[in-house]
């Protein structure tokens, strides 16, 4: 019927990049299951999937009482040893009976929430994307939060981040149909994505949402760093010092679409046309580099023509 999920993206609480050798212990959340690590084109580590059981009302834009029972799938990833994402999602389907079944029935369908009674996909999608307070409703955020906290509390991390940053929350809904993507940037940290895909749902859709969330976070975070640097207002050396963490930690992480299935690549490409994430990123990166160039030049000039 509908797939919905939330991706939280933030900076890993560690002063340096976490090396590949530590990623398995940071993301090893399940005994006997390997952390999946890929090194090309960027270091990316993915935790095993975890399940959480729920039995509660699902969000509804029409305030309908829709009860769902099943499990939420969550996983956590670290990109470039710097950016941490916790991602949870469910596939909502209609139950065959009107009452709750033994738990083993739901465990045989990991990541599925069965709706007992009537529900309209559009109403659920609107309700979920409204980012209302969880109240009596499904609280996917609490699961992602918990997972994020567990990872950030890993022993090998020193819990000192190189700069201040905020977490973003990207909520997405997906259904099958004519392929398309709609991305809505909220005022604060909230982002809403609607995806339609061809054929059967696969975790490739999840990969795409995580990739969108990652790049949106990079862009958001770099924008804040540039803003805080007070270019033109603060002394050049100060500006450079404030921009330095971006150069150290962020600039090399931009690789949109690198980890997504080719069948979904056109969706990323359509977002590149409008609004053009990479265009904005490039312009910001150039601005940061120009500041360093100007500052270096100023220092050189001061050395050659001392006042």
């Amino acid at each position: 019927m509908l797939i919905m999920g939330e991706v939280r993206t933030g900076l890993l609480q560690n002063s340096a990049e976490v090396p590949e050798s530590d990623l398995s212990s940071v993301l090893g959340l399940l005994a006997g299951e390997r952390v999946r690590i890929s090194r090309r084109p960027i270091l990316h580590a993915l935790s095993p999937d975890l399940l959480t059981g729920v039995d509660c009302l699902l969000p509804s834009a029409a305030q309908a009482k829709i009860r769902g029972v099943g499990t939420v799938v969550s996983r956590c990833s670290i990109t470039g040893g710097r950016v941490v994402q916790s991602s949870s999602y469910v596939r909502v389907t209609k139950a065959e009976t009107g009452h709750r079944l033994p738990w083993s029935h739901y465990l045989a369908r990991p990541g599925v929430i069965e709706v007992l009674g009537k529900a309209a996909a559009a109403d659920l999608a609107d309700g979920f994307l409204a980012f209302g307070l969880p109240g009596e409703h499904l609280d996917v955020g609490s699961i992602s939060d918990r997972l994020m906290d567990t990872v950030q509390a890993a022993e090998s991390l020193d819990r000192a981040s190189p700069f201040r940053s905020t977490q973003t929350r990207l909520r997405w809904v997906a259904a099958s149909g004519e392929p398309g993507v709609r991305f809505v940037l909220g005022e604060g940290v909230e982002r809403r994505v609607r995806i339609t895909y061809e054929g059967e749902f696969s975790t490739a859709v999840l990969d795409l949402c995580e990739d969108l969330a990652l790049h949106d976070w990079l862009l958001t975070t770099l924008l804040v760093i540039v803003e805080r640097a007070r270019i033109g207002a603060a002394p050049r050396a100060e500006v450079s010092a404030r921009l330095a963490p971006a150069v150290d930690a962020l600039l090399h992480l931009w690789m949109p679409g690198a980890r997504i299935h080719p069948s979904l690549a056109p969706l990323w490409e359509s977002l590149e046309l409008a609004p053009g994430f990479t265009r904005q990123w490039q312009s910001l990166v150039e601005r940061v580099r120009d500041q360093f160039a100007v500052n270096t030049l100023a220092l050189l000039l001061r050395e050659t023509n001392p006042v």
């Binding site: 005994a31 039995d55 709750r100 045989a108 009596e136």
Partner: protein, 314 residues
Amino acid sequence: MTTFSEVTAERQIKSAPLSHVSVEVGHLYLEDYQLGADRLREQFALVTPWLETVRRDWRARVPGGRARVSTCFLIDDCFGRFSTPAEVVPMIRKAADDNGLTIDYLARESACVSADGVPLAKLVADRLVPDPPPDTRGWRRSTSETGWLANGVRSPMPRSGQAMRGPLRWEPPSQNAKRGHSIFVDVELWKDGPDGRVWSCPFLASVWQLLRLGLLRNEGELPVQPVSAGDAFPADWDELPPVVRLNPAATPFSAYTTMSVLSTRFLQVELAVRTILSQVSVDPEVLGQVQERSADERLRLAEQLVDRVSYVFL
């Protein structure tokens, strides 16, 4: 066409050889052992006709009548150790032989804690997904912190200070999947003590069931491989392999289904086992492998794990 892949980024899951049914023909505790070989002979005499029934039943189900039935026997070496494998194993074999019963595999219960360096109990504990009571909206304090697992909602406890405000009304516990009335079950999975974690008998029995169902993997590999034994057995339990193959002609240790022929005194333990098993999440890929294999044999397996586990209580 260009392809690129990375070994560390892929999941590879081995598949387990499978019999049709794994029949547990007995479970030896210290007190049984103390009653001597006659007690064992009596037990095997009771089990033999049931084993025959299981064989007959599977021969009728399987095309060509080629039923793969393996038998196993579990020795409890966790809750009080006794004698040595060199003494006990031949005694068990002899008692079985006297009844025309062949024990294919022998396992020690401590293997369910850890076998060949794989922490099996921890592996299963990490895969518990507690049955959520109604109104569970997201994350909640879980079994991993309390060490208890229930099939419903516990009776509410008075909070400190509440007792001062007049008499408390008792409220009943409630089973999540009740039919009219509740049968509430709350199982202690482990106790943490000065010597570390002590796993409960029902928890280890759940690991035992999962092993017999061939559903556990450690980093994609099969965690326990039966080791063939000759006629000599070690003098120390720790030197006995986790699962020993006593019969070289035996069909695989793991099976699509399990049947345990047990004394009625195990009824409560097995209720607890079923409570646990119905809250264990098994790797979907492993479940898929088993499903595919059984479909190739034109067998229909119960979808829910607990429905693949059956018993005869004597």
